[in-house]
Subunit: 151 residues, 2 copies
DNA sequence: GATTGACCTTACCATCATGGGAACCCCCAT
DNA sequence: ATGGGGGTTCCCATGATGGTAAGGTCAATC
C-alpha cells in the first residue's frame, strides 16, 4: 500500500505521515524498488492511533509515550492514566485562560453601546493607564500569570 | 527613553517591541545618533495598549484594527464592539473544542482502573477501529470538523 | 587612559504541527 | 510518445515568542 492509500485509510495526510516518519514518531517504513513507501495494515493501525490521539489534543511527545505503552505488553494502565490526567489538566488550564479572557470581554461588550458614537469602554479599557478595578466584577482572581499569553 | 526603559514601562519585552516594529504594528520609532531607539510617553501608551489587547487574546491583526479605531476620532463604538464580538466567538469555539477533548478524556479516565494491569480503556479507545459509540455519552454533537486539530 | 559592565544593535535559529509548492521521478493507459 | 496520476525530496510559511551570538556605545571606575 502506497502513501496515498495509507493516507486515505488512516485519515492522516501524506504530509504528516512523512513528517511523523522524519521526527521518528513512526519507524522508517519499507520502500519498494522505486523508492515508494509501502504500508502494511499494521502501519495503518498505528497512523489511525496517532490521528485519534491528536484529535484528543495530545502532543507528539505525549503520543510517543502513549505508543510506547501501547506496544508494551507489560504496561500498567496507571501509566496511561497518568498521561491522560496530565493532558486533562493542560486542557483545563487552557480552557480557564480562554474563559477568563472571554469573561472580561463579555463584560466590556455589555458595557459598550455599539452605536455611531466614538465613546467605547472596550477601547477605554485597552488604553487605560492602570485604573482602579471596576466595581461590577470585583476582586476576581482570574489567574493572569503571563503578560503575553500564547493563544 | 531607550528600549529597556520602554520595555519596563510598558510590560512588553524588548524582543516583542522590535518585532512589532518590524511587522509594522507600531511605526518606526525615532533613533538617537548612536542608532538606539528612542521612545516617548505616547509610544509607551501604545505598547501598553498592545500588551493589554494581547492579554485578552486578540491577534496582531485584530490589534491592528483596534489601534486604527483607537486613533480614529470619528470611530463608532459599534466597530469596536464588532471586533470584540468576533473574538469572543473565536474564544468560545476554541473553548468548546478543548472542552470536547476534555470530556472524552474524562470519560476514558473514569473507565480506567489505573492499576498494575495492562488493560486500559484509554489505549483501547485510541487503537480502536471505528467501534460503536459508548452508551454512557450518546450521540453528543461535539463538532469535530478538523481531523488534526491545532491545539 | 584602559577596563568593566550595562545597554543597545542586527541576524539567525527554534518552537509546534501543519500546509503549500516546486522540481523531479515512475508507472500505466491511450 | 504523451498525458495523467501517483510518488519523492527540499524549501518556505504560519504566529508570537524566546534564545543566542557577534558586535557597537556609553558611563563609571581603576
Amino acid at each position: 500500500m502506497n502513501i496515498g492509500q495509507a493516507s486515505k485509510a488512516s485519515g492522516v495526510t501524506q504530509k504528516m505521515i512523512r513528517y511523523y516518519e522524519s521526527i521518528g514518531l513512526i519507524k522508517d517504513v519499507e520502500r519498494s524498488e522505486n523508492g515508494y513507501r509501502t504500508y502494511a495494515p499494521n502501519d495503518i493501525h498505528t497512523l489511525a492511533f496517532i490521528r485519534r490521539a491528536r484529535h484528543l489534543g495530545f502532543s507528539i511527545e505525549q503520543i510517543q509515550a502513549l505508543m510506547a505503552l501501547w506496544r508494551d505488553e507489560a504496561r500498567s494502565s496507571a501509566e496511561v492514566k497518568a498521561i491522560a490526567k496530565i493532558h486533562i489538566a493542560e486542557l483545563q488550564a487552557k480552557i480557564e485562560e480562554l474563559a477568563a479572557m472571554q469573561r472580561t470581554l463579555e463584560h466590556l461588550v455589555a458595557c459598550c453601546a455599539g452605536d455611531d458614537r466614538p465613546d467605547c469602554p472596550i477601547i477605554d479599557d485597552l488604553s487605560a493607564k492602570a485604573e482602579a478595578p471596576a466595581k461590577a466584577t470585583p476582586a476576581r482572581s482570574n489567574g493572569r500569570h503571563r503578560a503575553q499569553p500564547r493563544v
